[in-house]
């Protein structure tokens, strides 16, 4: 029922926490779309002439026919301030992420293999996991102290 664009690398690499904290990190879901979404070439890992990102090894397209858009949508919620009177300069790109360390290497091996496949041999992967299975590997981002 939904398809997601997953970031599998930490994208912030400036060394400046005020900048890097806002960048996508490993496990962050960039986008959630309904079935049959018309993904872009770069999202699918196609090397586009002139684009310095090559096959975009930091992206994965994952089709989840048993997870609804609404169920996955919370994954795109940015981190918000716990105390708006004392706003954080380090709010993170997403409040929740798919936690690679929680992926069961036996029951969710296909996801783990795809996650580790920077060659992106297939443009996308279809996984028949349930929403509960996906939920089990979701972790809330720990706020960055300031």
């Amino acid at each position: 029922m939904c398809e997601i664009l997953l970031c599998v690398k930490d994208m912030g690499n400036s060394g400046n926490l005020a900048i890097d904290s806002h960048a996508p990190k490993q496990g962050d879901v960039v986008d959630v779309h309904p079935d049959e979404w018309s993904w872009g070439q770069c999202e699918l890992g196609v090397v586009v002439n002139g684009n310095p990102n090559g096959n975009h090894p930091f992206f994965r397209v994952i089709k989840l026919p048993n997870v609804s858009v609404a169920q996955a949508a919370r994954m795109t919620t940015p981190e918000v301030d716990i105390d708006p009177q004392n706003p954080s300069p380090y709010l993170q790109y997403r409040a929740f992420f798919l936690d690679k360390s929680k992926i069961n290497g036996t029951t969710m091996k296909a996801l783990l293999d795809n996650w580790n496949d920077d060659g992106r041999a297939s443009g996308f992967i279809l996984l028949n996991y349930t929403a509960a299975q996906i939920n089990n590997i979701v972790t809330q981002r720990t706020p960055i102290l300031f």
């Binding site: 664009l5 970031c7 994208m11 912030g12 400036s14 400046n16 900048i19 890097d20 904290s21 806002h22 960048a23 996508p24 960039v30 986008d31 779309h33 979404w37 018309s38 993904w39 872009g40 070439q41 770069c42 999202e43 586009v48 002139g50 684009n51 310095p52 990102n53 975009h56 930091f58 992206f59 949508a73 795109t76 919620t77 940015p78 790109y93």
Partner: protein
């Protein structure tokens, strides 16, 4: 060398603006949106987390022929948010910003941006530099007096139309802006069948300038400390010179009603010819759809430059008749 990527849902490089932003690379990162479909989003598009500098800039614009200004009928299309006229970005989640710019050297051009209950465009960093919003339509329905169509804390907003379609809230909010923050040739309005309230332009502190701008449908043109000149409003204007104050709203635009709004300048408007030449803030000397400024003796106030009927045909006819 800058990387130019296509964005859209018809086998483009990236299908969404968020995906394109997440893939940022240095050397200049330019995204060109295609009007394959309306960009419907459910959470804000945030420009942040990138090591932007002058050479490592980010520009989001429409591809050639894809923006509302490129529409073949641009001179007769109603000037309001309409994704069928060109690329539109719409956030369907209430009380969520549409576009947030929290870093330097970000330029956004030619987009239509629509939201509900929070900023359509939120430039929220007074420490940023090189931030530009150019020739965009911002459309929002606001429900609280503290809200605004857009926030500008640094950089420049030029040739933009800001429409607040709620019964409360402000137009452009300069919230503690950086020195040199400017709105130039912008039109900030609330439809005339909505309840007039709040301010077309507001500032919580000095530093910002409003030049050649129009503000209609509010109970104040401005609040707080602003500088500038050559502005036009249906209200009093408390700063600057060469203003057109207390003018009739209905005389300025083609249609000021919410459902049928068309904020193109109309013939006979007080906006006409009452601006000043401002190639500092609008170096291309054009309006929101690319019409050269001026079309008559002086620049018009607001985002639209009215093309006046030429007398050429008339004089040619007279010449053919042996007159003159």
């Amino acid at each position: 060398m800058a990387t130019i990527s296509t964005i859209g849902t018809s086998a483009r490089n990236y299908s969404t603006i968020s995906a394109w932003l997440a893939a940022f690379a240095t050397g200049g990162w330019i995204g060109e949106c295609y009007n394959d479909s309306e960009f419907v989003i459910t959470s804000a598009i945030a420009f942040s987390g990138h090591s932007t500098t002058s050479p490592n800039f980010i520009t989001l614009r429409t591809a050639a022929g894809q923006g509302f200004k490129d529409n073949a009928s641009v001179q007769t299309n109603a000037l309001r948010y309409n994704a069928s006229n060109g690329v539109g970005v719409r956030n369907t989640t209430a009380y969520t910003n549409v576009i947030i710019v929290g870093e330097s050297f970000v330029t956004i051009q030619n987009l239509q941006i629509q939201g509900n209950g929070s900023y359509a465009y939120d430039n929220n960093q007074s420490a940023s530099s090189g931030v530009v919003l150019d020739s965009c339509i911002l459309d929002i329905v606001l429900t609280a007096s503290g809200q605004a169509t857009a926030r500008l804390r640094s950089g420049i907003m030029r040739n933009c139309l800001l429409v607040n379609r709620g019964n409360t809230g402000n137009g452009l909010d300069f919230s503690y802006p950086a020195t040199g923050t400017v709105a130039a040739n912008c039109t900030s309005v609330r439809p005339s069948d909505k309840t007039a309230a709040n301010s077309a332009f507001m500032a919580a502190s000095a530093n910002a300038a409003v030049k050649n701008c129009a503000g209609f449908g509010f109970t104040n043109f401005s609040s707080g400390s602003l500088t500038g000149s050559n502005n036009c409003s249906d209200q009093a204007i408390g700063f600057g010179t060469s203003n057109q104050a207390s003018k009739t709203y209905a005389n300025q635009f083609v249609n000021t009603l919410n459902a049928t709004a068309d904020f193109r300048e109309k013939s006979g408007a007080d906006l006409f010819n009452n601006g000043f030449t401002d190639t500092t803030d609008v170096p291309a000397a054009v309006d929101i759809v690319g019409t050269a400024r001026p079309q008559s003796a002086s620049w018009d106030i607001g985002c639209w430059e009215l093309i006046v009927a030429s007398a050429t045909v008339y004089s040619s006819t007279l010449s053919m008749m042996g007159v003159g």
